[in-house]
Symmetry: C2
Subunit: 215 residues, 2 copies
């Protein structure tokens, strides 16, 4: 299982944004929603082994988290559809008095809480934080062995509290290349690297099955 | 200079789509507009060395081409802003009786025509076509030596005529990984590979400058 956790420092945790001016009225929730597409959808399909957390630190109901996984069959790639879904999720009060994630629809859940709630939900996954100038993900040997979660900042990066919390959780810093990219592009590049490693390891296994004498 | 050419087999070449239902009314122009963001924008900036062509084969005014380059300073990342801009560009009649590209604003141009008009505009660039199962772009040695143009299909891939025309133009097939991806993710992965190669070649040059005896 791969998880992506996108931190929106100003992204609104309530539903009072304008659909016709998402960047201007939602604390750049548009950045985070584009990450949902990049993480969960490929050509004509939905990735089943992915979970995306959007951590919303903006507005009166913050902090809150939106969680999307591979059972969310009706996810659509365009920003307006994703914003419509997010607005419905943010309008619920079901998470206000609950602990942990409350399912909104199949594969889609909401929680009141911030990074700690995400870390609790990720139990056992290897943690990586995407940082500019960190060692290249292409040469990170530990990737693709078991569950992994990737923390990505929005257009403003990470705040100090988040950085400290991730360090305490032993998140390993990795980089996605020499250029400072949009969050959704980072999701795409991490996904591509994991796809390549999984394909390679699948091919290795099938080779071993055909040649059981090989070790 | 790097160029991305995205082929929209059904994407509308006229301005009669609904802003509130872009995927349902524009022949999936939304797919192509997301490629503009992926190709031209990075965190807090616009790439100056990139040109994007959207080739529109749908609707009554097809074929037409929208061209965006690094002089287009007011490009915004969200889909609605890009769709608003595209609608204004598609409403013009300036290209109807003109040959080649007609500038709409600085860095933004429109042309009546299809793939041949793009190929004429690209004069001299090495051509690559992104195909599933083709040799991996990571091992393609010719990349990043001079101007390169990358042809990418929309959610329906390439039609036979396009495929034939690209083969006749000696476009080389390359692949972006083992999973069939959205067009905008392919743009991101190609951009990341080129960024890495340029950074590496820049570093090599700076090493050579510091150590002029090295060859």
């Amino acid at each position: 299982m791969r998880s992506f956790v996108v931190i929106g420092q100003k992204a609104t945790a309530s539903d009072d944004f304008l659909m016709d001016d998402l960047p201007g009225t939602s604390g750049r929730l548009d950045v985070l929603l584009r990450c949902v597409r990049a993480a969960t959808l490929y050509s004509h399909g939905l990735r089943r082994d992915v979970v995306v957390y959007l951590v919303l630190f903006g507005g009166p109901r913050a902090p809150r988290i939106l969680r999307f996984d591979g059972k969310a069959r009706f996810l659509r790639p365009d920003e307006r559809s994703l914003a419509t879904l997010a607005r419905k999720m943010l309008a619920t009060r079901a998470d206000a008095d609950a602990r942990g994630f409350v399912e909104f629809r199949a594969g889609i859940a909401v929680a009141s809480g911030g990074l700690s709630a995400v870390l609790a939900d990720l139990r056992g996954a290897s943690l990586y934080v995407l940082e500019e100038g960190a060692p290249d993900l292409r040469t990170e040997r530990s990737l693709a062995h078991g569950d992994a979660a990737f923390f990505i900042g929005d257009h403003t990066g990470f705040d100090e509290a988040t950085r400290t919390q991730l360090a305490e959780a032993h998140a390993r810093a990795i980089g996605a290349g020499p250029v400072s990219l949009h969050a959704e592009d980072v999701v795409t590049i991490v996904s591509n690297e994991l796809d390549r490693r999984e394909a390679l390891s699948g091919r290795d296994e099938s080779v071993q099955k055909r040649n059981p004498g090989l070790t």
